[in-house]
């Protein structure tokens, strides 16, 4: 994995996204800088998933733009995403990674070593030949991470990656996220889990009803929230 040299910071300028008459993202202007993971938190329907999809280029905003460090050509951005429920291709774990490597243009001769490295990184080296769809939920998420990392991303987007996992599986995913972030990959992730935001977040972005309510360093956000909504959310109260 290479250092995020040219693709950061991610600059969101006036991002607005609508689904019919409903506004999903409302004029979001933020800068996501290089460094430890940026964690998007907020209640259901806050717009976290849509914002990640906009950054990934899977959803075109109705207004606004995303620019990337020294350029604003999305085709040059080394980015990858792991969905909350990743789809496993109907082939082995190793073949899933091989597929992603092939899509990323990695020469076939280099693939076996890359596959071994990625499987080792996510702790699946003993399961390379196992059909991907027969892996447990946690193993599938780790494989999805390996598949995303096969693209050698500068920016890794994670959408509620641990939402349906037990604590042990969640811990193994968090360990991988830490390892990936330490290698210089910018992680931008959404979660419902405030504890996870504390454990992993370098900065936290609280979203509600398509807007960013507060964005700042995780330590400050949790110790001294600037807004009443952030205080309520941290206290476990319902944001409606």
């Amino acid at each position: 994995m290479r250092a995020p040299d040219t693709d950061l910071p991610i600059i969101l300028s006036g991002i607005t996204a609508k689904a019919g008459a409903v506004t999903i993202l409302d004029n979001i202007t933020q800068t996501i800088a290089a460094g430890p993971p940026t964690v998007l938190i907020g209640p259901n329907g806050a717009g976290k998933t849509t914002l990640l999809r906009v950054i990934m280029g899977l959803v075109a905003p109705d207004a606004g733009s995303v620019s990337w460090g020294s350029h604003n050509d999305p085709s040059q951005v080394r980015r990858a995403i792991v969905f909350q429920r990743p789809v496993m291709l109907r082939r082995s774990a190793a073949a899933n990674i091989a597929y992603a490597l092939g899509a990323a243009g990695v020469p076939r001769a280099q693939q076996p070593q890359r596959i071994a490295d990625l499987l080792a990184l996510v702790g699946l080296n003993g399961l390379s030949a196992r059909p991907a769809r027969r892996l447990s939920g946690g193993e599938q998420q780790r494989l999805a991470l390996a598949r995303a990392l096969a693209r050698d991303p500068a920016v890794l987007l994670l959408d509620e990656t641990t939402a349906s996992l037990d604590p042990a599986a969640t811990k193994s995913i968090e360990d991988i996220i830490r390892a990936v972030a330490q290698r210089g990959v910018k992680v931008v992730m959404s979660t419902h889990d405030l504890g996870q935001a504390r454990r992993l977040g370098g900065d936290v972005m609280l979203m509600h009803r398509g807007r960013v309510i507060e964005h700042g360093p995780a330590a400050d956000f949790f110790a001294q929230p600037k807004t009443e909504q952030a205080r309520q959310f941290i206290a476990g109260e319902l944001l409606v």
């Binding site: 899977l58 969905f83 291709l89 109907r90 082939r91 597929y99 769809r133 027969r134």
Partner: protein
């Protein structure tokens, strides 16, 4: 009962004429399914993944073509291959090749329509993941067809069932010539009309057995494949 006994005796006797008929039937039907798969699977996948004006109409027509009357297909292929037809110069009317063409016409819509539905359903599941990996249109088709391969086997079996059971088209374009274009279905029709029930019953038993065996083999292959690939 005596007809049944005679039929079994005929099957077990190793009658070369009977086995020639069985072999030709298999060659014609399997060749037609192969040709129809080569055309129908990419066609169905292409329709599944592309959006164009009139697409709904194309899908309706494709689905309707699954019910093509064999005698109409036989007549159309006969006219095309007859001496004065556009393909008359090929000189293949009343040959096994003509029978394969007729059955390919019958089976292609079945395989294409079932492929279209299967691939479209899988595409809904895979769309974002493949988009996130920047997979291009041609590679998408290849990926979806490969990952749908076990489901597509059902489409191939449906096509084989149609081809193996079909008589109307091949009797028109093949002519039911003994030792050359006579298949199990055309022989059953002929022998029944002649009153030779033992041969007709024997061929009927073999035909059903072949269809069952082919389906059993396909099922076993599917289960083994699923165990390997998930």
């Amino acid at each position: 009962m005596s007809g049944d006994t005679s039929a079994l005796t005929l099957i077990l006797s190793g009658d070369p004429g009977l086995y020639r008929i069985i072999a030709l039937s298999l060659v014609v039907s399997l060749s037609a399914v192969f040709c129809a798969a080569v055309i129908g699977i990419p066609l169905g996948a292409l329709i599944a993944l592309t959006r164009f004006r009139g697409r709904d109409g194309v899908i309706v027509v494709l689905n309707a073509l699954m019910g093509l009357p064999p005698v109409v297909v036989g007549l159309a292929v006969y006219l095309a291959l007859s001496r004065s037809g556009p393909l008359g110069s090929l000189g293949i009317l009343f040959t096994p090749q003509a029978m394969i063409i007729a059955q390919t016409v019958l089976v292609t819509p079945i395989i294409a329509a079932l492929t279209r539905q299967t691939v479209e359903d899988l595409w809904l599941e895979y769309r974002e993941e493949l988009a996130a990996m920047d997979i291009g249109p041609a590679a998408r088709i290849g990926t979806l067809v490969w990952d749908a391969r076990f489901s597509l086997m059902t489409a191939l079996l449906a096509g084989f069932g149609r081809a193996a059971a079909e008589v109307g088209a091949i009797i028109i374009v093949g002519g039911n010539i003994e030792g050359f274009t006579r298949t199990m279905t055309t022989a059953i029709a002929l022998e029944t009309s002649k009153g030779d029930l033992p041969l007709a019953i024997g061929l009927g038993i073999v035909l059903i057995a072949i269809v069952v065996v082919v389906n059993a083999l396909a099922w076993a292959a599917r289960r083994a494949g699923e165990r390997y690939a998930g």
